[in-house]
Symmetry: C2
Subunit: 336 residues, 2 copies
DNA sequence: GTGAAAGCGCTAACAT
DNA sequence: ATGTTAGCGCTTTCAC
């Protein structure tokens, strides 16, 4: 029940040796005699000595911590990415500092600055939906802190990226719906400046054209949350009689429209087929089970931190940005 | 594109003044002349100076950071708690360091130690399911770092707690099911050493007895995840003909059993009524919509950090543990 | 094999 | 109004 935690100096004083000897003993330096080492170790354990990470970080100019900034922790995809990141981090004794931007530009900036202030060794970021000004990212480059973007990245910047093949995912879904007989497919899209959404949409549009179906821009609705789907209820129900398929940019809006259509008396998949994107656990819980694109979140997280660690270890002057794109697969279930 | 970030000394040197003057100017110390202040500010902005949080922390013996350890970020309840915590933290310029234990004792220990090493100003913790040894918590007390438990706490320790009235929640659900006509209610419970689960179960059992229904211990199944529900499929289907209600300890297992029963031909809520606990967003998405107990996650998060800040500001020697219990409400939907 | 001293970046007495 | 100094806890030359 004492005030400040014990320091190396406390140990040194108690044992009548110098702080540097204690430091070396604790760090298993070869010069230290077995006897001294064990005395130090023993006493350190007895008083529950713990190194001050702030002091170590200040000395070493590195904090043994990597920072992660994600839009929203609540999304299963991001959670699995974090698990992947932590998996690797723990195995290497690295600390992980997680912050969420809540899809808010200002918070993203604040979080990134806080992480830089803490002298994180590297940064793993998935940018917020409403980030347009990229100067805070540029600051990171200028401060020479390695940074890897995952999933959502600023296309204007030449950076390392761990991404999903969203275009291919969009194609897979659309091809599947067409194979199942759909001829008029509604696409629930996400806000324009989100590249992942744009890619999924491009996959959709490309496939429609390839299949020689008529591409109708009116069949694209900006509607990427449950709330927005319900807000667009009238519009959707007005279109419903003319469509036989829906490709939603994520699982939650897919499920929302599925419910909305079923409540209006439509049969799924008989009358209208629905597919989503992401393979959220909820996709296999709802009825009918949702057909959706599976993303490799855990693997992406692992790959992201591995790439980051490589960058940290090789701070090469000639920077050549790399992109690692994960392939996707379609999980066919009962909704299509 | 320089190596180390600029320090106060760099500014001092460039401006031909002393480091302490720079420090004071940056900190808006009243003694500093307006001229000096503005010159420092301007130059600092120009070179994008950022204080080294490690150095500040080392000096001040506090890091302006609070640590949060939760079992799993993926659960909506914990995510909302985090949002509540961040809400307050951001408004006060505090940093939040989040770690997940993944319901693993060892990770919990590692995380807490890492936070202590970082000299966090305080700790907000919800303990993992398989934590029985409490010595790492005791270490926190001994190091005089304020700690508040939320939701899941060690009952053997006298600590500050922000909790849900789980007992009352269990009662509410059970009373509701009985009012709806249920006479034989199955309870899907969680592992024994999780107090929140035990309390919900106690609320269930108490209510059964109060209603003068026969309490049958065989109607309590240890089954708190989707997977475990499906693993117990045979057992559940064998009981199904004899029950007319289910109270699940959380929403995911409630939904799992709902699906399992519906797949087996049971009508919900007509033949069997089902209710969950937690009000996960999925509860209002699934069909039938799930009746469930609403927990005040966001409010709990806010309260937790507010209580923590109070503890940090008043490190009183006479510690009297406080418990703040949040009331719950029942959201009645279509499953009951 | 161990100690003394310097310094990481910052702040806060204590000068002046 | 500003400079000097010391020190937070740790590591690491450089001595011996």
């Amino acid at each position: 029940m004492k005030g400040a935690p014990a320091s190396i100096n406390d140990i040194a004083r108690a044992l009548g040796i110098s702080a540097s000897t204690v430091s070396r003993a604790l760090g298993n330096h070869p010069d230290i005699s077995a006897d001294t080492r064990s005395r130090v170790m023993e006493y350190a354990k007895a008083i529950k000595y713990r190194p001050n990470a702030l002091a170590v970080g200040l000395k070493h100019q590195r904090s043994n911590t990597i920072g992660v900034v994600i839009p929203e922790i609540i999304h299963h995809f991001f959670s699995t990415i974090i698990s992947g990141i932590e998996e690797v981090a723990y195995s290497k004794g690295l600390r992980v500092m997680i912050c969420q931007s809540n899809e808010d530009y200002n918070r993203e900036v604040i979080n990134i600055r806080a992480m830089l202030d803490h002298r994180v060794d590297g940064l793993l970021i998935s940018q917020s939906k409403d980030t347009n000004d990229l100067s805070h990212f540029v600051e990171v480059f200028e401060s020479n802190v390695p940074i890897i973007f995952f999933d959502r990245f600023p296309s204007e910047l030449e950076t390392d990226r761990i991404i999903t093949d969203d275009f291919q995912g969009g194609k897979l879904v659309t091809q599947h719906l067409i194979e199942r007989g759909c001829r008029s497919i509604l696409h629930l899209a996400t806000s324009e400046n989100l590249l992942v959404g744009a890619e999924r949409c491009r996959g959709y549009a490309d496939t429609i054209r390839e299949a020689a179906l008529t591409f109708d821009p009116n069949l694209i609705l900006l509607c990427d949350t449950q709330q927005k789907v319900y807000a667009a209820k009238e519009q959707i129900l007005a279109m419903a009689p003319h469509i036989d398929g829906v490709f939603a940019v994520n699982d939650l809006s897919a499920i929302a429209i599925m419910n909305l259509l079923m409540d209006a008396g439509y049969q799924i998949p008989d009358t209208i087929k629905v597919a989503g994107f992401g393979d959220d656990p909820i996709a296999s819980i709802v009825r009918p089970r949702l057909t959706t694109v599976e993303q490799k979140g855990f693997m992406m997280g692992k790959k992201a931190i591995e790439m980051l660690l490589e960058r940290i270890e090789n701070p090469t002057s000639s920077f050549v940005p790399r992109t690692y794109k994960f392939q996707v697969s379609l999980n066919m279930r009962d909704s299509s």
